[in-house]
Symmetry: C2
Subunit: 386 residues, 2 copies
């Protein structure tokens, strides 16, 4: 029985653990799982969801030496830590020479560790969630179905089902990462060149079956696709209920997202800390509050002399029976499915692999989609041809 | 030659000084004027506007003993200090036994000093600006034209001529007083009873000739009218460009107007101090930036068996020749006109007099309107009869 190490027992790590522990394991091999987190209560939740089949370990994972030692003791490692720990954790796991997959959404470029992973002969699948993750996989797969791919457009959002004034938004992951998305310039590929746009710019209203009208806006979400795919036009945008973005633009304009210290009333504070303190409690999901995940991947180009638009749509909802958020489901399942593929030796390429590197293998893509479908996460394909 | 003391050389105090110093004095007697402020540069501006005809004095006016001593040395006193100093200043002037008028917009109830003013035998005209001020005077005058007055409705706003994202607002007076208006519950009279409404509530779109559509919303502006007028329905509301109020409601909801200390990043701060620090610079008029003042006073009831609606409209603009804001013009002129009436002995009633107490004297009202018209501030009357 292979051993798996799960680093981080947050909302997503706990669902990864429960899934790997056999919740959907009737067609899969089994693992002996260790899950590690600094917070005992987070481990307890994971243990409850996994039916007591985990080995839990309380440890501070901010130290790469701890990571490396733990990784060396397991056959497979899954990284589900906070984004700011992602890169150093991945480096330590690669150093330990263990195959791994990661969903930490690290700000650094994971491809910088490609040589190290190749040197150790191990596959390290990064950005292995929904977006980044399934977005990369399906974009690359569909680009491969075309003779010439001209455009990849990805829009994606995690949203509360119920819209509540004034934000009509709650954060399924770290709200600080959300603000980072709202402030960092968005990088796109246009006409074959990397261009920068202001974050939150160019809002566009788009209708979605089962939701209604949402607003797409520029965010810096292409990540590795901008480097790995030879497609002249690529952009990733984020979706919110209409109005949220205008409000965030105003907050930014007023200076509430500033990270420098200002002096007020004799004290020195960062405005971002103040607005985070006030706003983030309003961005927290209540226990049992339903969320949704919506994504549309549009890949456009020529095939057999005809213009095709190849579109994948995802709409996923909260799992009220298990209490799993849609954000956790749609992010965790690609990761657990790929983890099983790693354990089964189905992914043999060594190096740091963003999911588009797996998109050329049709049977692998079909398997990843089918396994998600079995867990209730349904991607739907539409072909438009002119 | 009577001597006049002007307390405060802010934007409005300086215009008061220039007007009293003879800028429009061809039909008026003259004053020997002392203007006092803690800021030498504010006194310099007033001196320039008054053509060098002022005696200026640098003094800290936060000490009521200073006020009382200065007041005793003059025949007439005009209060144009910040709102938080208004009440203690008025009390000190009354103590000195000098007739006075005031535009400080004090939060306290000036009528509490009525007995003291009566005991000294002096008239103290308070709230003697545009609103409060002309609003009180005209509401009372028109109520007196009816056999039975059923309703007084006042809407008023000071706005920048040019609307700039995101606030479409600038503060012609203390921005802290504006936030106070946005947070303090609004008190109205409905069906003869004093009722409270949440500040910023019940927005209503209203069109104004020469401006376009504005949004009226509940603020606590009735002040003395709620106590002195026996009219069953009275409300005063504030006007902004549409959208501003929604944004202020959101800021309030998020907690940005909270006055309690919160701890962020190891420091203790009041959220209101933080948002004020960030937002107030965006609320400041640039030098020469044109503002406007808009007001509509509607007085409704029965006269001679017919239903009448007696409406006064004011739309006033920035005086680009003099560099006087509309806010300063419309506030200062009622005060200087009343000051001259006080000096001429035309107002003899002793006690604290909010302007509605002058509204029963038709010749006085006509004079105050005519003198403003001569200064380019035009109130227009409309009668609707059914």
């Amino acid at each position: 029985v292979p051993t798996a190490l799960i680093l981080g027992s947050g909302l997503i790590g706990a669902v990864i653990a429960a899934d790997l522990a056999g919740d959907h394991a009737d067609q899969d091999g089994e693992f002996r799982i260790t899950i590690v987190d600094a917070r005992p209560e987070a481990l307890e939740r994971a243990q409850a969801w996994a039916g007591g089949r985990l080995r839990t370990l309380v440890a501070d994972l901010a130290d790469p030496a701890t990571i490396q030692q733990l990784a060396a003791e397991h056959d497979l490692v899954i990284g589900a830590l906070a984004s700011h720990l992602g890169y150093q954790t991945l480096a330590a796991v690669i150093e330990a020479g263990r195959p791994c997959c990661d969903i930490s959404f690290m700000p650094e470029n994971a491809l910088d560790l490609d040589a190290a992973a190749k040197a150790r002969g191990i596959p390290a699948v990064v950005d292995c969630g929904v977006a980044p993750g399934m977005s990369n996989l399906l974009a690359a797969y569909e680009a491969g179905q075309l003779d010439h791919c001209e455009r990849i457009d990805i829009v994606v959002g995690g949203l509360p089902r119920q819209r509540r004034w004034p934000f009509e938004y709650k954060a399924g992951f770290s709200p600080a990462d959300v603000i980072e998305e709202y402030t960092r310039p968005a990088r796109f590929v246009e006409g074959g060149r990397l261009v920068e746009r202001e974050a939150l710019s160019e809002p566009e209203l788009i209708d979605f079956e089962g939701i209604g009208t949402l607003e797409a806006f520029n965010t810096d979400g292409l990540r590795s696709l901008a480097l790995t795919m030879n497609v002249p036009n690529m952009k990733e945008r984020t979706l919110r209920y209409p109005g949220h973005i205008e409000l965030m633009r105003i907050f930014r304009e007023v200076g509430l997202f500033r990270r420098d210290l200002i002096e007020v009333g004799g004290a020195q504070v960062r405005p971002l800390d103040v607005i985070s303190h006030l706003m983030f409690p309003m961005w927290s999901y209540s226990p049992g509050e339903p969320d949704l995940t919506v994504m549309r991947i549009t890949v456009e180009g020529m095939r057999g002399g005809k213009r095709q638009r190849r579109i994948w749509n995802l709409l996923d909802d909260y799992d009220s029976a298990r209490g799993w958020t849609s954000m956790a489901r749609t992010t965790a399942f690609p990761c657990t499915i790929v983890a099983r593929l790693l354990a089964a030796g189905r992914i043999t390429t060594s190096g740091v692999l963003p999911p588009e590197r797996l998109g050329g293998d049709e049977s692998l893509v079909r398997h990843i989609l089918a396994e998600q479908e079995r867990r209730g996460v349904r991607y739907r394909f539409t072909l438009q041809e002119q």
